[in-house]
């Protein structure tokens, strides 16, 4: 019940590979790693969800925060490889309408 976060930074694209569970325990750690990546102008931050086994509203909060940060710093956030369960959370809350999401 933890979350591992691997960041690969290359030119103007950062890839964030997540593995594990995003909940109230791990969300702060994710926020601390993710937000600074979105603060560089013109960068694309791609978050790979393929190994995310669980996420709840604490995770949604982190990605809302990251999206706000991209608007402020002219960067871009892209969420990729979401499984059906995680995608469903974005759909229920309507956040899929404002986020760049690529389904698995």
């Amino acid at each position: 019940m933890n979350l591992s976060i691997d960041v690969l930074e290359k030119d103007n694209c950062s890839t964030v590979r997540l593995s594990g569970e995003i909940d109230v325990y791990t969300a702060n750690k994710l926020k601390t790693r993710l937000i600074p990546l979105t603060e560089r102008e013109g960068t694309v931050v791609e978050v790979d969800f393929s190994q995310v086994r669980y996420m709840d509203s604490t995770g949604l909060g982190v990605f809302i925060g990251a999206l706000k940060s991209t608007k402020k710093h002219s960067s871009h956030l892209k969420l990729t490889h979401l499984n059906r369960r995680v995608l469903r959370l974005f759909k229920i809350t309507g956040l899929n309408e404002i986020m760049d999401i690529e389904e698995r």
């Binding site: 709840d56 509203s57 604490t58 469903r88």
Partner: protein, 162 residues
């Protein structure tokens, strides 16, 4: 009063224990025969309720306890989450609780963002009472087709993986 099994647990109001409760609800719901999707919904709903009490506890600067009760019936699982320390008198509490209508209690629970919204979307029935600290009673029925906010069926055709 119909017979039902009752499982109770008490955890420190700390973030690292939310995952432990998820494992517990997963075990109970699996034993009851809930579908894979329903179990995932239950895990999120219970985590949201506990996250809320954990955040309250941190605001108060005192680490309290969260009390979780599972009422296991033939056709449904009832879950109580409370940040009030005393043991439950399950039937008494159920009598005093009502559907959430008070604007105040909704605002309290929405502090974390989408928490209460998700509980409401994922469970069949949700009741909240603030007289005992924060207390949430939520119910999920077995084999009921879920409906989202737009009235569309969700995962009605999904197959149980167990």
């Amino acid at each position: 009063m119909k017979a039902f099994d009752f499982v109770e647990m008490r955890i420190p109001a700390k973030a690292e224990y939310v995952g432990v409760v998820r494992l517990t609800v997963s075990g109970i719901a699996s034993r009851m025969g809930f579908s894979y999707d329903d179990i995932e919904d239950l895990k999120i709903a219970i985590s949201e309720a506990i996250t809320n009490t954990v955040e309250h506890a941190y605001n108060d600067k005192v680490i309290g306890e969260v009390h979780i009760g599972f009422g296991i019936y033939d056709n449904r699982l009832e879950i109580i989450v409370s940040d009030h320390g005393e043991s439950f008198k399950f039937e008494d509490i159920k009598e005093k609780i009502g559907p959430y209508e008070s604007l105040e209690s909704i605002m309290t629970l929405r502090e974390g963002g989408f928490g209460l919204f998700l509980i409401d979307a994922l469970m069949d029935k949700v009741e909240i009472n603030n007289d005992y600290g924060v207390l949430v009673l939520m119910t999920k029925y077995k084999n009921e087709t879920e409906v989202d906010d737009d009235g569309n069926e969700i995962s009605a055709t999904s197959v149980s993986l167990d």
